[in-house]
């Protein structure tokens, strides 16, 4: 177990080091998500009240879009540089590769969200500030679910033709409970949670996160076979 943890952290450390030295991924993700938020503002017009009402859903769609783009990079960088083969050949459980990449995707997306939520609050006039602790918890569960499923499908599609297209095709249907749960909990909290709905959505999110994590960890070695 500790061996698995050590290997996963090594993968995570390598990816984080590459990212902090180049900042390629994060800068691109940040500008992409800002553009998505701007496009939403244009598409739904200057009606400030409407934008504030939709803000929960819009933020989560922006997160899903940006996250999907960055997922493609998770396994591709090694595929291009030729290190993927070597990573697979290392002795030990290949699940470390999944866990390390999963943690990397999660941290990258979480870092983005700390900027995205305030930006959306300003652009859409949404009341995120007063509900920050609750929203942070929603974001934690939602981002975890996204990363669990996304990292798995990214590994599955990395060797396919037209993977940029296939990843969202496989990923988005699997994300339905994550999106519904995250948006449901976010909206309920923004409305002051008069009906006590937020906790139900959070439980759904947590349950789905756990189930998908177990299934993905279980079958990941099959995905990586040559």
């Amino acid at each position: 177990m500790s061996e698995l943890f050590r290997r996963s952290s090594a993968i995570l450390w390598k990816d984080l080091l590459t990212e902090t030295r180049t900042r390629q991924g994060f800068t691109a993700m940040l500008s992409f998500s800002a553009l998505v938020l701007l496009l939403f503002s244009f598409a739904f017009g200057p009606d400030a009240a409407l934008l504030a009402r939709l803000s929960g859903g819009l933020v989560w769609v922006a997160i899903v879009f940006t996250g999907t783009l960055s997922l493609g990079r998770a396994f591709q960088s090694e595929e291009l540089a030729g290190g993927a083969q070597l990573l697979r050949l290392y002795p030990g459980d290949v699940r470390a590769l999944y866990l390390g990449k999963l943690a990397g995707n999660f941290l990258l997306l979480a870092a983005l969200e700390t900027l995205l939520f305030p930006a959306a609050a300003i652009l859409f006039g949404a009341e995120f500030g007063p509900h920050a602790p609750g929203l942070a918890f929603v974001a934690l569960l939602g981002t975890l679910g996204f990363s669990v499923i996304g990292t798995f499908f990214a590994a599955l599609t990395v060797h396919l033709r037209a993977r940029e297209l296939l990843l969202p095709i496989l990923l988005f249907p699997a994300l339905v409970p994550v999106v519904l749960g995250s948006v449901g909990a976010t909206d309920a909290m923004l409305a002051g949670d008069p009906l006590g709905r937020a906790s139900g959505w959070l439980r759904l999110l947590a349950a789905y996160d756990v189930i998908m994590f177990v299934v993905c960890v279980w079958i990941f070695p099959i995905v990586l076979e040559e």
Partner: protein, 220 residues
């Protein structure tokens, strides 16, 4: 054997359709449009059955690594996608008249989940078409077949919480006896037809695989 099964499916589906259209009286409340259910409910059942077969065959493939299980799974997906699309179209026609939902889309959990189901297995077929190596294709397909089966019940639950409109599933007990019997007949007829189609598609897939393995020269 296969010929008998084929004949049996034609006869039973034709009989079920004829009885549903002409022999049984239409439901007093829903009117003639209720006859659509004799096709809608059995196709929905076949869709569920075929995706369950996909799950079983995918698991079998991952355990035994025999390509034949992958071919059965792929055959079953194709029938399932066809039946899911039919279920959606027929259900939409029926719902227009009965739910008074107009010509639009209803965000009912079962309708929405069925649409998601369709997209998941269309994705399965797209992945198959994008991969050349039979072993790799089988492995990726099996993984999707297993994971899709896990996610769909939770998709249903989440959409159910989101909003609900669909009536509880009809069971033979909640229906008049003539309607119930006709429904049962159609269930049997469509299941026989499913078995026949699955066998035929599987045999075709075997030939396709043999051709693929023989290489491009053999196609000339």
């Amino acid at each position: 054997m296969q010929k008998i099964l084929g004949l049996l499916s034609i006869v039973s589906v034709a009989a079920g359709t004829a009885i549903g259209l002409f022999v049984v009286r239409a439901d007093a409340l829903q009117g003639e449009v209720q006859r659509l259910l004799y096709v809608h409910v059995p196709t929905a059942w076949i869709a569920m059955l075929s995706f369950f077969v996909v799950f079983l065959m995918s698991t079998l493939y991952l355990v035994q690594r025999k390509l034949k299980w992958d071919l059965v799974a792929a055959a079953s997906v194709e029938i399932g996608v066809l039946c899911t699309a039919l279920t959606l179209i027929l259900g939409w026609l029926w719902g227009r008249a009965t739910w008074g939902a107009g010509g639009g889309w209803t965000w009912d959990p079962r309708v929405t989940t069925t649409a998601v189901l369709l997209l998941v297995y269309v994705g399965y077929l797209v992945v198959r078409s994008m991969s050349e190596d039979p072993e790799q294709r089988a492995r990726w397909s099996a993984v999707i077949g297993v994971i899709a089966f896990v996610q769909v019940p939770i998709v249903y639950l989440s959409v159910f919480w989101w909003r609900s409109l669909h009536q509880p599933p009809s069971s033979p007990r909640s229906m008049a006896s003539g309607i119930g019997l006709t429904m049962m007949l159609n269930f049997a007829a469509y299941t026989i037809a499913f078995t026949y189609l699955l066998i035929r598609r599987y045999k075709l897939a075997q030939q396709e695989l043999a051709l693929e393995l023989a290489g491009p020269e053999a196609e000339l």
